[in-house]
C-alpha cells in the first residue's frame, strides 16, 4: 500500500516537492518557536536559587576607580569610606533585615562574564563581587562548605563560592571544596562553598549561568568596591520608609547621587523584556502556519478535483468511499513524513553544534515532539475536507468527466 502510494507521490513530484518544502520550513519555524516556549516554561518551574521578595537595591554613582582598565586588587578605592558609611547607615534601620554589597545584582541587566581554563577545558562563567551578608539578603541556599565570613580577612587566599552548575562543569566528580580556582596578581582563589544554581537574570534566562561569587571586604584594600547595595526589608514595609531611607542616606553621603530600586519591579521589567520576543515570534509563527494550512487545503482540494477520473475508476472497481478518503489522507501524511524526516535530520545536527549550552535537553525534546505532533496534526487536518470530497465522487459522474 505504502509502496504504491510512494509511487503516486513520486509521479507528481514537482507539485509535491513544493508542498514538501513548505511543510519543511513550517516545521523549522514551529520547532524554533515551540522550543523557545518550552525553555520559558521549564525555566519558570526551576528554582531561582535566591529570593527576590522584599529586596531593595541602592545604586550609588561613585566614580569608577579607573574606567576600563583592570583594577589592581591591592589598590584602595577612594569611594570605600563613603560606601561603608552608607551601608552602615542602611543596616541601622529596624525595617532593614540585612544589607550587603553586590556589583551586578540579580535582574540588574549588568553582567560580568569571563572564561576560565582548567586542565585544558574552558568554562565560561558569570562573576559577582559580594560582601559577607549577601547570602542572608538574597537567601542563597548553601549546599556544601561555607559562605564568606568576617574572619576571611585574615586568610592567605581569596575565598570563592561557586554554584552547583559551575562546580560540576569545573571539577566534575571531584570535591570542589579547597580547590584552586583562579589566579590573578599573585592572589590565589580557592573554593570554600557551593550554593544552589544562582540564576541571576531570572526565570526566563537560559540555564547554565555558572555563577562564581568573589568576596569583597570593606575592611582591607581589595580593589574597586561594588557600588550597589542589596537590602532585605521586613515584609510589608511601606513606600514611606523608602523616602525616609533615601533622605537619611543623602544626609550621610551628600556628594554621591544614589537611588533606591525594588527588585520586584526590576524583575517585572526583566521578564517583560524576555517575554515580548517569545510572544511576537509566537504570533508571527501562528500567522505563517495559518497561511500554510489554508494553502495546503486549497492545493489538496484542487488535486482531488483534478484526479476525479482516477478516483472514479477506483470507485467503479469497488473501492469504498472510506478507502478513497484513506488514500487522500495517507498521501498527505506520506508527503508530510518525507518533509519531516528532512526537518528532523536538520534539527538533529543542533546538539552537535552545541545547542545544549543554551537550551536544556528537556526543552529541546519537548520542542521536537510538540512541533512534530503539531505539523502532522495540521497536515492531516488539511486533508480531511478534500478527502471527504473525494469520497463522495460518484463513479458514473467521474468516468463521464471528459
Amino acid at each position: 500500500m505504502i509502496r504504491h502510494l510512494l509511487k503516486l507521490v513520486w509521479h507528481r513530484k514537482r507539485a509535491n516537492a513544493l508542498v514538501m518544502v513548505e511543510i519543511f520550513i513550517s516545521f523549522l519555524v514551529v520547532f524554533a518557536v515551540v522550543t523557545l516556549a518550552a525553555m520559558a516554561i521549564t525555566g519558570w518551574n526551576r528554582p531561582l536559587g535566591f529570593d527576590w521578595h522584599e529586596v531593595w537595591l541602592i545604586s550609588l554613582d561613585t566614580p569608577p576607580l579607573s574606567p576600563g582598565a583592570p583594577v589592581s586588587l591591592s589598590s584602595d578605592d577612594p569611594a570605600r569610606e563613603t560606601i561603608a558609611r552608607v551601608l552602615r547607615e542602611a543596616k541601622s534601620f529596624p525595617q532593614v533585615v540585612d544589607a550587603a554589597l553586590s556589583d551586578t545584582p540579580a535582574y540588574s541587566n549588568s553582567e560580568s562574564v569571563g572564561n576560565w581554563n582548567r586542565n585544558g577545558h574552558t568554562v565560561s562563567l558569570t562573576r559577582d563581587n559580594v560582601s559577607d551578608d549577601f547570602a542572608k539578603v538574597m537567601r542563597v541556599k548553601l549546599v556544601r562548605g561555607r559562605w564568606f565570613q568576617r574572619s576571611d580577612d585574615a586568610l592567605g587566599y581569596s575565598p570563592v563560592v561557586v554554584d552547583r552548575d559551575l562546580a560540576r562543569e569545573f571539577f566534575g566528580e571531584a570535591d570542589p571544596i579547597g580547590q584552586k580556582f583562579d589566579e590573578y596578581e599573585n592572589v590565589t582563589f580557592r573554593v570554600v562553598g557551593i550554593v544552589e544554581p544562582y540564576r541571576k537574570s531570572g526565570e526566563l534566562a537560559p540555564p547554565g549561568v555558572n555563577m562564581a561569587f568573589l568576596r569583597k571586604s570593606l575592611e582591607k584594600p581589595n580593589g574597586a568596591i561594588p557600588s550597589n547595595i542589596v537590602l532585605r526589608v521586613q515584609p510589608g514595609t511601606p513606600a514611606a520608609f523608602e523616602e525616609e531611607l533615601t533622605r537619611r542616606l543623602h544626609e550621610v553621603a551628600p556628594d554621591v547621587p544614589m537611588r533606591v530600586k525594588r527588585m520586584d519591579r526590576m524583575r517585572e521589567l526583566g521578564l517583560r523584556v524576555r517575554l515580548i520576543p517569545i510572544v511576537v515570534a509566537g504570533i508571527v509563527a501562528l500567522f505563517l502556519i495559518t497561511m500554510v494550512a489554508l494553502g495546503l487545503t486549497g492545493v489538496l482540494w484542487q488535486t482531488v478535483t483534478r484526479r476525479t477520473r482516477e478516483i472514479g475508476l477506483r470507485r467503479a472497481l469497488g473501492a469504498s468511499g472510506a478507502a478513497v478518503r484513506a488514500q487522500v489522507l495517507l498521501e498527505v501524511a506520506l508527503v508530510a513524513t518525507l518533509a519531516l524526516i528532512a526537518g528532523v535530520v536538520i534539527v538533529a545536527q543542533l546538539p552537535i553544534l552545541g545547542i545544549f549550552r543554551i537550551v536544556t535537553p528537556a526543552a529541546f525534546a519537548m520542542g521536537l515532539a510538540c512541533s512534530l505532533a503539531m505539523i502532522y496534526g495540521l497536515t492531516v487536518l488539511c486533508g480531511v475536507y478534500p478527502g471527504w470530497l473525494a469520497s463522495r465522487v460518484q463513479p458514473a459522474q467521474a468516468l463521464h468527466y471528459e
Binding site: V19, P63, R247, D255, T290, G295, G298, Q302, T303, R306
Partner: protein, 415 residues
C-alpha cells in the same frame, strides 16, 4: 493593459475560495511587514518632538581600543564640548545625559520617573509641546538653577490636576521648581523621551571635563547635504585626539551618525564585533532585508503552489492564446500582473489590519506611550513590499504556465 486588469479581476471572482485563501495569506504576511515598517519609521523618522530628526547627527559612543582592554562608553561632556558642540557650519548642537530612573516621594507615595539633564539648546532642536510655562534658558543652565521641566503625566502624579508651574518637589536630596510642563513623549523618541528634565549643571558628579561619561551629543545640520562635510570634519578631529594612556589604549574611535546609523552601530558593538564597526549601518540594513525576504519565502511558496494548482483551470485559455501566436513574454507578464493585482488587494487589506494591530499595540501599554501609526512613508514602503511580494510569488507559476504546449493545453492539461 486595461483588458488584462479586467481579466485579472474576473479570474479572481471565478474561484472565490481560492481568492480568499490567497488574500488571507497575503494579508497576514504583509500585515507583519507593515507593522515592522511602521515601528522602524516611528523610531527613526521625523516625528514630533523630533520633527527635525531628518537633519540631525548624533554622537553617543566613544570607543578606546587597546591590545588587551577595550572600552566603549557614552562620551563625557568634556569630549562633546571639545569636539562636537563647536563643529563648524552647523545650525545648533546640544549635549544631554542618558536617562536615569529615580523616584520622587510625595505624601507616602513613591513616584518613579526618568530624568534627563540637558543644556538650553536641547529645547531648540527638539520641539516639545509646552502646555504650561517654557524651557529653561542658557542663563538658567549657567547659574545651575534647580528647576525642572516635567511631562503632563508626571504633573498629574505629583500635583494632581491643575497647573504646576512654580511648584516644587524633592529629588535625590535637592529641591526643584517646575518651570514648564510638556506633553508626554513616547519612549520610542530616543532623544526627546523623558519625564523630567533639569539643567545639566545640577549634576553633582565632576562631569564638565570628563572624556567618557553619560552624555549624548546631537547636532542639527542646516540640511542633509551638509552631513558629509560634518562627518569628515568630525573624523578628522577624532584622529587628532591625543591618547592619554598610550600603554593601555592605541586607538580612539567615534563617529557622528544619523539616528539609524547610531542604532545599527549600537547593535553591532560587542566583543569580537569591532571590525564591523565601520560598516555597521550597511550590515544592519542587509540583515533587516534578508530577514524580511526569508519571512516572505514561506508565504510566497504557499502562493506559488496555489497558483500552480490553479494553472490547470486556465489551460484552455492559455492554449487558445498560444495557438493564436501570443509570445511567451506576453503570457508571463499577464500572469505576473494578475498576481500583483492580487497582492495589491491583499496589501490594502493589510493596511486596514495593520492599523488595528498598531492601535492594539499602542493600547496594550507594553511600550510606554507608544504612538505607532501609519503615514505616507509607511504606505509607500508597504506598497513596494506588496508589489515585490507579488512578483516574487507570481513569476515561477507564470513561467510554468507559459511553457504549456498549446496542443496539450487545449486538451485540458499536463501533469
Amino acid at each position: 493593459m486595461r483588458s488584462y486588469l479586467m481579466l485579472a479581476l474576473k479570474v479572481l471572482q471565478r474561484r472565490k475560495f481560492f481568492t480568499f485563501i490567497s488574500l488571507v495569506g497575503i494579508s497576514l504576511t504583509l500585515v507583519v511587514l507593515v507593522v515592522a515598517t511602521a515601528m522602524l519609521d516611528d523610531l527613526f523618522g521625523p516625528h514630533a518632538p523630533q520633527s527635525r530628526f531628518d537633519r540631525v547627527l548624533m554622537v553617543s559612543r566613544v570607543a578606546k581600543y587597546g591590545p588587551e582592554v577595550s572600552t566603549t562608553m557614552n562620551p563625557g561632556y568634556g569630549f562633546l564640548h571639545d569636539y562636537v558642540l563647536n563643529l563648524p557650519g552647523i545650525e545648533r548642537a546640544t549635549a544631554f545625559t542618558d536617562l536615569v530612573t529615580s523616584a520622587i516621594y510625595r505624601g507616602g507615595d513613591r513616584i518613579e520617573t526618568r530624568i534627563r539633564r540637558t543644556d538650553a539648546d536641547y529645547w531648540k532642536i527638539l520641539d516639545h509641546r509646552f502646555v504650561e510655562g517654557g524651557p529653561f534658558t542658557a542663563a538658567d543652565v549657567q547659574r545651575g538653577a534647580h528647576i525642572a521641566v516635567i511631562t503632563d503625566e508626571l504633573r498629574t502624579k505629583l500635583f494632581g490636576p491643575g497647573p504646576a508651574a512654580g511648584r516644587s518637589f524633592d529629588l535625590e536630596g535637592d529641591r526643584y521648581r517646575v518651570v514648564g510642563v510638556v506633553e508626554a513623549v513616547p519612549i520610542t523618541r530616543i532623544a526627546a523621551y523623558s519625564q523630567l528634565w533639569t539643567p545639566v549643571t545640577t549634576l553633582r558628579t565632576d562631569w564638565q571635563r570628563k572624556f567618557l561619561g553619560e552624555f549624548n551629543g546631537l547636532v542639527l545640520a542646516r540640511g542633509r547635504g551638509d552631513f558629509a562635510a560634518i562627518k569628515s570634519e568630525f573624523a578628522r578631529r577624532v584622529d587628532a585626539i591625543p591618547i592619554d594612556d598610550p600603554k593601555t589604549y592605541k586607538e580612539i574611535r567615534a563617529s557622528i551618525d544619523t539616528p539609524f546609523e547610531t542604532f545599527a552601530r549600537e547593535l553591532m558593538t560587542g566583543p569580537g564585533m569591532r571590525k564591523f564597526n565601520q560598516h555597521a549601518p550597511l550590515v544592519v540594513e542587509l540583515i533587516i532585508g534578508i530577514v524580511a525576504l526569508l519571512y516572505m519565502t514561506l508565504p510566497a511558496l504557499n502562493l506559488v503552489t496555489l497558483n500552480l494548482s490553479r494553472m490547470l483551470e486556465r489551460a484552455p485559455e492559455i492554449g487558445v492564446r498560444k495557438a493564436f501566436g501570443a509570445p511567451r513574454t506576453a503570457l508571463v507578464s499577464q500572469f505576473v500582473l494578475e498576481n500583483v493585482v492580487l497582492t495589491l488587494i491583499g496589501g490594502f487589506c493589510s493596511f486596514v489590519l495593520a492599523t488595528a494591530a498598531l492601535a492594539a499595540i499602542n493600547g496594550s501599554g507594553l511600550i510606554d506611550g507608544a504612538r505607532f501609526a501609519l503615514n505616507w512613508r509607511v504606505f509607500i514602503w508597504g506598497l513596494g513590499i506588496a508589489v515585490f511580494f507579488g512578483v516574487l510569488s507570481g513569476f515561477y507559476p507564470a513561467w510554468r504556465m507559459s511553457r504549456l504546449h498549446p496542443v496539450e493545453a487545449l486538451r485540458g492539461g499536463a501533469k
